[in-house]
Symmetry: C2
Subunit: 300 residues, 2 copies
Amino acid sequence: MLAVTILGNNSALPAFDRHPTAQVVMLDEHQFLVDCGEGTQSQLAKYKVRRSRISHIFISHLHGDHYFGLIGLLTSMGLLGREQELHLFAPRALKEIIDMQLKVADTQLPFVLHFHPLGEEGLLVKETKFEISCFKVQHRIECWGFRFAEVKPLRKVNAEKARAHEVPSSFFERLKRGEDYTAKNERLVKNEWVTDAGSKPKSYAYSADTIYDERIAEKVKNVSLLYHEATYLKDLADRAAKRFHCTTVQAAAIAKKANAERLIIGHFSSKYEKLDDFATEAKEVFENTELALEGVTYRV
Amino acid sequence: MLAVTILGNNSALPAFDRHPTAQVVMLDEHQFLVDCGEGTQSQLAKYKVRRSRISHIFISHLHGDHYFGLIGLLTSMGLLGREQELHLFAPRALKEIIDMQLKVADTQLPFVLHFHPLGEEGLLVKETKFEISCFKVQHRIECWGFRFAEVKPLRKVNAEKARAHEVPSSFFERLKRGEDYTAKNERLVKNEWVTDAGSKPKSYAYSADTIYDERIAEKVKNVSLLYHEATYLKDLADRAAKRFHCTTVQAAAIAKKANAERLIIGHFSSKYEKLDDFATEAKEVFENTELALEGVTYRV
């Protein structure tokens, strides 16, 4: 199971009951928080996301609308008696800010906070069933996107066929990993004779804040679900570029180039109260687009 | 006109739709923000307090539930194009935190932020019609209370009596300031013959977070309206003391000792969903007590 719940879809500041950026990515029983704008702890409570289940937090960049809610969330986790370790991936300077805020409050977190400064593109977390990696995007300051991907799944053993080929069940685990079977008499049983392909591995990519940059399409190639920022409607392409942001059609163009299956767009400018045109414009370029709406969970 | 609007009345973390501490004090056409927990900018919007009219911000201490919303408010003021200067009174260490957060975002505020570190008790702001001062309270870390006081008002000239005593109207401004009038023939007109006392000057004191400390009663002596924290009900006096907080009856005892006219209590612990008992307990000691409720304006 791979899904993302949007907690904040607005840019820069809260407006029209929209909140600054935060998302929860769910991967089987794991929960990851991506960005943490002011008020995220309240949004987590509102949408009944159990913060105790969050094991990793990823911060894309140090503009306030993407991290001002983090210190409040961390200290609240402490006040609520969290004991599990927490992993934080973020631009290096964040550590000093957090340390200073804890120091002036004479506060120590009761859990271990592992700080991992972001430094180069590539793998951040590798588990048996999934991997999380980061990639650079182009913003006014250092900024990172994140990709959550299921690992290529095990093949499914067709027990009937395997028995017909006299493969012992003790070899089934190796069949799942794609190995052929060779019997003692040198008889070969090809893996594909007795197994079926597992389902296609799913993936989710978060583009963070970025100017239009076609290199991102390469970095999120073939992703199942792409979140791409679309701060402005298409008539404001100049303003978008000047502020290192994107428009609706630019986000859609990246999804198309990347051969993404589906696109959600967010990070809407506070100048827009109504969002209908965002979907309309993006769909003209990439049909399978939806708005990233707060409280909604998008299953991959 | 002196009044206070409560924006947040909870302690430590948001709970039961209550927010961490923030208040707006209105003194004639002036607006002052006192403490600024996470989400204060949204609470200001919700209760239609125009942030552009806030000229001074006072931060009592550097526990997050009293200032984590400040950096978001400041940067939002900047994004919204604020040009008026802003005065910030706070413990000294806050400046470094703000400076670092602006620096990593490569952001400059478009308005002048005057930072005034709190250092000793006494006057912070002196205007013709009002004065704002600070006083120390006893918390786990350096912590300050604030007092907003109208200056002793001018006397009111009774024009009819003044004319009967042949005081020229050119002397009326000096009558207002309490002076006697002496005519050229040495005839004396005593001030109180031709003027009436102005209304009693009003005052509001904010006790911030504090352990029970009778010295506070001296510091807020004869205040018109006292806000005193009451984090716990009276059965938890031990826990309150251990955490440098107060109970209902302790807050009420300070109001009584201070000869305050009225008391509002707040900073309720997140362990309490219902607040009725807070009012009941405090009123047993000091009848003129109300709960500090979010969105409510208490006029002095």
